[in-house]
Amino acid sequence: MHELSITKNIVAIVNERAKGRKVVRVQLEIGKLSAIVPESIRFCFDVCAKDTCLSGAKLEITEIWPIGRCHSCHQDFSLDLVNAQCPCGSRQFECITGQEMKIKEMEVE
């Protein structure tokens, strides 16, 4: 269950930045290509936050849908998770969103 170690990372980073203030909200950005399951993060969060300044903090997770930028037709397109192809048929593209694993912001008192 790698979400546990991911969640520990989140709590550690936020805890360090909070410098002792109470954290009321943490906002994450998780791309659909990142292999992180938001539900599992939520599941781990309360446990990991316990007895830290994040205790009781709300966790908000924004999921980011992957977008590819095609190298042949230069269009941006919504990327299918298991079919890496532009609607024009090209398989040459770069991912411009969808790989995020970020702590976007946090709110402290």
């Binding site: 790698h2 990372n9 909200r25 966790l59 908000e60 298991v82 890496a84 398989r91 912001e105 709110e107």
Partner: protein
Amino acid sequence: MCTTCGCSDDATPRIDGVHQHLHEHTHDHSHGEITHSHAHSHVHDHDHVHDHDHDHDHGHTATRSILKLEEDILAKNNLIAAENRGFFAGRKVLAINLVSSPGSGKTSLLEETIRSLSAKKAIAVIEGDQETENDAQRIRATGVKVVQINTGSGCHLEADSVAVAIKKVDPEQGSIVFIENVGNLVCPALFDLGEAAKVAMLSVTEGEDKPLKYPHMFRAATALIINKIDLLPYLKFDLEKCKENALRVNPALRIFCLSAQMQVGMDAWCDWLIDRSK
């Protein structure tokens, strides 16, 4: 952004244009002129009882502040991985992170690869397993340097333990270092160890739809090894379909079909390694 209660209208998830604080109830509130509706999760400082679906005016006391972080959750791991990558580059070492489900044949592949290559290349191995030294002992029997990492309950290797292991294994200039990850097709995709390439492996006993079920791993990999092809006559495994599935997920994937046990198809794989390690 809602400046009064501090919630960020543009950054939070939206459903039907309304930002969500992932809270059980929705109500409208107006801060002066602006009225917005959201399900919000912030703790009210005011101790009012409100029935929901109503408008109310209230001032949130603005004692809260928002810190923008924009920080990668795995920043610490990535930093150490970058140091590992620097270490490898300094010694011109090719580092391969080998990942698969348990039992696909990673250790067998390493044993055979070492037999084929050790005459022309220095090789060292870092073994990752939850428990036991068994794989390290198998590798040690081939005569190359090996360090075992036991992750206990950890289901993947992280860059920090690999950093310790590479110093211990002390790879030679120009050598190849194989890192056999814990048998798992999910999270090793997330954790950079500082390798030059992830190589994913699956065996023909696993089903040709594995790449579609675990797309993250196949997307993160540079090459795919399909192992145990000696068993193909006994199985209903569609090799072409499997390759097609893998390429659907990752069109750039380099695929090797082989049998580590019967030493079939090892040459193309070994040549690929030698090419990359120049």
